[in-house]
Symmetry: C2
């Protein structure tokens, strides 16, 4: 019989609670810890069930489910991508996710993941750069100064000590917003008026634009020797940011090749073009950066395991800090086979009331 | 800019609210309306995005995601199946689901679906039987008297006028529970002590047992001419209920062949064994029952479109009856590109408080 009185309950982290949790932990520590959790999971990559995300495409955008499991925990994220959403005040990307116990299939956590995805994307980028950028890197260009840009800046500062930023966006007000938001944190910030200007002297180039189309945000002549490119914005079929010529000069690192071939920058390349799996760099099975002149490219599209890491990190954090409510999500009849009887008892209670 | 002040909010139907909603509408009407919604969606089957469910199997059970879309709405269900769960007071199957707007990707409804799945499974079975059972059917055997059994009985009474039940379960206490729960509703109920006894004179045989293994709940000699078999319990790889010989004597109707080949009774048959798609019977493209002696079999595994129908039915019902709360699930910054700024403003508010 049911011994736990709260089998029906799933902890829920709302947007408000997520913000308070992140602030309570501290943005820098949250990013650093989350990056460590992601790295931990990348290092045990082979234990995960992996599948390319399950996407439902429409004219306006895409809705995706991203499940994975390590055999003990199961996680999935729901995420949409609708570039035109900002026109009526909505987010381009919103997300929520669930962590479950593989042993009984019960959800253990339901959480907003719009903010959490921004954090995990930035943390993943910074982890990758830790292995791929030149060790003395200090300066990062950020092309595209939208919702993800500040998170990238914070993660690269926390993990790599990047403290010089060169910002560019086709919309100068986005650049101003990004610079304003990052003021007072110890960054030296240059607001640039062209991609050319932004990439000048940058050790790392982060591209994080949002248009759903083949675009060449970065051209071949923008990328000098030794640069690490952190390509974040190209993340669905038909959406790329880099000129193909850059790809041909770079060593390309990816999360999960079957998904990146469909969604990443490398959709521009033949399917047999060699790529390196990031997790193998972390375990030492493959080399990351080999020389100061090498161009490294992290073709980031976002993979389910990163969300899994974020979910389990949040689960641990709410155990320590609270910041959740309890949702009556799961039917919990007194006798498990008597789901219908639960309905009858509810009826009697309502009649008595 | 954001004109709707509540873009962050998603209506949430808890287990408690679902029970109250079902009781407010009335179980019979809920089942009948839901069946009509399912039939409506089956009749427009070709418009749906269809994919076999995305399953994550483990030793203990399975966790599945079941997405679909009609191009305007998108729905998915999370559902687990863990046969041993009842040992520690948990449900074998729990579920929740989400309905979203394809146009902007925003969730419009989050709801418990443990109870709702029980209702939609029963409603689907009854819709299928409406086309496949003999028109004069009055008597149904129910083999397996667990959580789904009463819902099946109620749906078959509401939709087809089935008012004679013959119940059997290897656990006699389950049969007693089922009979007790269904008392006073106009059923004539026979509690049987064997499958042989239960199927005697039955026009319809419903099998709805829960063991995750190849089992032969129903043998060939149990099934006489003219019977309609409603096989509900076999619904994952390695889990079947019927003897293969029965399948070979039956005309087999299925929801979505690529999924049923993996999960249904027909996993016992070669991949080329002919099956009939239920939706085509509903649209009149194919005949259902052709003669009084024919054995018809609905090899039900549960398909995403049925959950989609249930989600849109619930969405309409809560618009009329309420029975939901509002979840702060989606980040809604004042300026869509300023997700990070939302965090900063939250910080300022907390500091001021």
């Amino acid at each position: 019989m049911n011994t736990d009185p709260k089998l029906n309950v799933v902890p829920f982290v709302s947007v408000d609670h997520m913000m308070k949790l992140v602030l309570k932990v501290g943005i820098d520590r949250f990013l650093t810890d989350l990056a460590a959790t992601i790295e931990e999971d990348f290092r045990r990559w082979p234990v995960f069930d992996k599948t390319p995300r399950v996407a439902s495409h429409s004219q306006e955008g895409v809705i995706e489910l991203m499940p994975t499991s390590d055999g003990t925990l199961y996680g999935f994220k729901y995420v949409n991508g609708h570039p035109k959403n900002t026109r009526d005040g909505r987010q381009t990307v919103t997300a929520f996710g669930v962590l479950s116990d593989v042993g009984n299939g019960y959800p253990m956590l339901l959480t907003e993941m719009t903010i959490l995805t921004a954090l995990r994307t930035a943390a993943t980028s910074a982890v990758a750069a830790k292995y791929l950028a030149r060790p003395n890197a200090r300066t990062m260009a950020i092309i595209g100064n939208g919702a993800q840009s500040e998170f990238q800046a914070r993660a690269f500062k926390s993990l790599l000590g990047i403290d010089k930023l060169r910002l560019y966006d086709i919309d100068a007000s986005a650049t101003r917003k990004c610079a304003r938001n990052l003021a007072g944190l110890g960054f030296t910030i240059e607001e640039c008026t062209s991609v050319e200007e932004a990439v000048e002297g940058a050790d790392i180039i982060t591209t994080v634009t949002a248009d759903k189309q083949y675009a060449t945000i970065l051209s071949d002549n923008h990328v000098g020797p030794g640069v690490h490119i952190n390509a974040v914005g190209g993340d669905c079929p038909g959406k790329t940011e880099l000129s193909k010529d850059i790809l041909l000069r770079s060593d390309i690192f990816v999360e999960y090749p079957p998904q990146t071939r469909i969604e990443g920058e490398i959709q521009q390349l033949p399917a047999e073009h060699p790529v390196i799996e990031l997790w193998q760099v972390m375990t030492g099975e493959t080399e990351g950066r080999k020389s100061p002149d090498q161009i490294t490219l992290f073709d980031s599209v976002g993979f389910a395991i990163e969300d899994f890491s974020a979910l389990r990190y949040v689960r641990d954090q709410i155990a320590e800090h609270g910041m959740f409510t309890e949702l009556d999500l799961l039917a919990d009849p007194d006798e498990p086979r008597d789901l219908y009887g639960m309905l009858l008892r509810c009826e009697k209670k309502l009649e008595a009331a």
